[in-house]
């Protein structure tokens, strides 16, 4: 096992990783920007090091600063959390070269899955359904026109180096295709430094359902069932649950097997998530693979009883998975709400000082957070304040528990999206399990 871990992240995920390390007997060093001096991760880690000013590009995204910190504090491993460095093949590669264990898959695998064209090709090779698509990057507008005839409308143009929904263009008619292609390519170039785009058939009102996989370095790959993540705003998930109300044992098995096939085909190790779009006929289509721990991993933890982050670290240390597929069962129902510092109506971020705080608790209630009373939420980073996660025997009971926990949760001094989350818990369509990725845009 590792001796000392540098946690190359901030906020609740840094806290989550520190907790896992502590239970594994690994010493922890937090890194922080000047804006995060009062961060909870700084307070609870065994050590802490300031790595730069508030701007992420000069601190949490500064490879040199982080690698230098690892060397200075003599850590033997680095956990990237999610976001920031978590899917940076460049960072993982530097770690490999410096003999630092990066908690994640090999840099080559991160790079492969980071390119959405390559990822789709790998999925096809592994006999996983994908939406009809261009099969490679679009060469020019003429190429786009040709391919669109084959695919049909509506279709969507995506950046090869994109992800998380950025730089996508939905196209309904051939007339709109030309300018959409050029805009997408331009946006992709400016946002990701890579102008390659591809095209695929647009799946209307699908569910976003993803499979958690775990792969050790001894060839064992297991899936931990699905997470339903359809409730999104601009591709940002805000409510997640496990299991999905749309997935039965048979579909779970098929999606799980497909995910394992992909993981094996690309030599995947560590934890990862295969994201699918599931249409109303319950056909699933590969979307992309996230080569890191997800924000919403707790719902999987609560229904399977597996500590995803601890297992992730154990895998990176060369451990064998302590369970086989047959040992994994989903028990009860879990829901997570992401509580953000933002206006619940117009979604404008609301950083500032938390003057009052009452966290919910009691049976079946878990809070993953890095906030505390009198903490000032900095304006430089994402607005996630806390993940509120509940576990109950049934979906109905879990919704009731979440509604109650949200009512108890009180944050004073800044605005949060809790009013919206409370409304969702009361919504008939949500209660009936009738959600898709357009749920929130229909929501008044």
């Amino acid at each position: 096992m590792f001796n000392k871990m540098l946690i190359a992240n901030r906020g609740e995920i840094a806290v989550r990783v520190i907790r896992a390390c502590r239970e594994l007997g690994i010493k922890t060093v937090a890194v922080y920007s000047e804006a995060d001096r009062e961060g909870l991760h700084v307070k609870i880690a065994d050590g802490a090091i300031c790595i730069g000013p508030a701007r992420s590009s000069e601190s949490y995204l500064n490879i040199s600063s982080i690698i230098s910190s690892v060397e200075v504090v003599d850590a033997d491993a680095v956990h990237p959390g999610y976001g920031f460095m978590a899917e940076s093949a460049a960072f993982a590669e530097v770690c490999e070269k410096c003999g630092i264990r990066f908690i994640g898959p090999a840099s080559s695998v991160i790079r492969l899955m980071g390119n959405k064209i390559q990822a789709k090709k790998e999925a096809e090779k592994a006999r996983i359904p994908v939406m009809p698509w261009s099969g490679c990057a679009l060469k020019d507008e003429k190429d786009a026109m040709e391919v669109s005839k084959k695919i049909g409308f509506p279709l969507i143009i995506k950046a090869a180096s994109g992800g998380g929904g950025r730089g996508m263009k939905l196209v309904h008619t051939q007339a709109a295709l030309g300018s959409a292609f050029h805009m997408a390519a331009m946006e992709a170039l400016s946002a990701f430094g890579d102008g390659e785009v591809f095209m695929e058939r647009y799946c209307e009102r699908p569910r976003h359902i993803e499979i958690q996989i775990m792969a050790d370095e001894h060839g064992n790959v297991v899936h931990l069932g699905e997470r339903e993540c359809s409730i999104q705003r601009r591709h940002q998930k805000i409510v997640e649950e496990a299991p999905s109300p749309a997935v039965d044992e048979k579909l779970r098995h098929r999606m799980g097997e497909a995910s394992i096939r992909l993981a094996k085909a690309i030599g995947y190790t560590n934890v990862g998530t295969v994201e699918f779009l599931v249409d109303r006929q319950k056909n699933f289509h590969f979307m992309e693979m996230n080569t890191r721990v997800q924000v919403e991993h707790p719902v999987t933890e609560l229904v399977t009883g597996v500590d995803v982050v601890k297992e992730q670290i154990k895998i990176a240390a060369g451990g064998k998975l302590p369970f086989r597929q047959g040992d994994i069962a989903m028990k009860g129902h879990s829901i997570e709400c992401r509580i953000n510092a933002e206006d619940p109506v117009n979604f404008i971020p609301s950083p500032g000082r938390i003057t009052e705080l009452r966290l919910p608790g009691g049976p079946g209630v878990r809070v993953d957070t890095a906030i505390y009373c009198n903490y000032t939420v900095p304006s430089h980073y994402d607005p996630l304040l806390a993940k509120l996660i509940v576990h109950a025997p049934t979906r109905e009971a879990a919704i009731k528990k979440m509604a109650g926990a949200l009512d108890e949760f009180h944050v004073g001094g800044i605005k949060t999206n809790m009013p919206l989350l409370r409304e969702i818990m009361k919504d008939h369509e949500f209660i009936a399990g009738n959600t898709d990725i357009e749920f929130l845009s229909r929501f008044s």
Binding site: A30, Y32, E34, R37, E38, G39, V42, K43, A45, G47, A48, I49, C50, I51, G52, P53, S59, S64, S65, I67, S68, S69, E71, V72, V73, C98, T355, N374, T376
Partner: protein, 144 residues
Amino acid sequence: MDIKDIKALYRFLKTTDIVEFELEDSRGKVKMRLLQAAEGAPETRALPKPSEGGKKEETREELKSNLKTITSPMVGTFYRSSAPEAESFVEAGSEVKTGQVVCIIEAMKIMNEVESEYTGRVVAVLVENGQPVEYGEPLFNIEI
């Protein structure tokens, strides 16, 4: 009544909506008129504290306006000279000029020269040779 008392008083007043204030006691008399009342006026508002975990201390001396601090521009290892056997770039008492190299920070096997931002006299070397430093860590005090 010394400057510390007055500062404390002012800090307090800035948490309130008091706009005029006068005090006279055995120590003397003070009178202030403030241009603006505090917004919201939370009495308990605290100034940003240095973190428990960090090493950086509020350098009281900064208050004296002629005392400046050179801080580390990066995480790394602090070296006072260009090679183990070489002389230190500066010592306490040395005169330095803006742009003059005062130390080296090694980060990722690269030696980064740190230049003085001030012209003045080194009054203190705050880190020992070979020690790790974090971003923003005070390295030298310079009297200008």
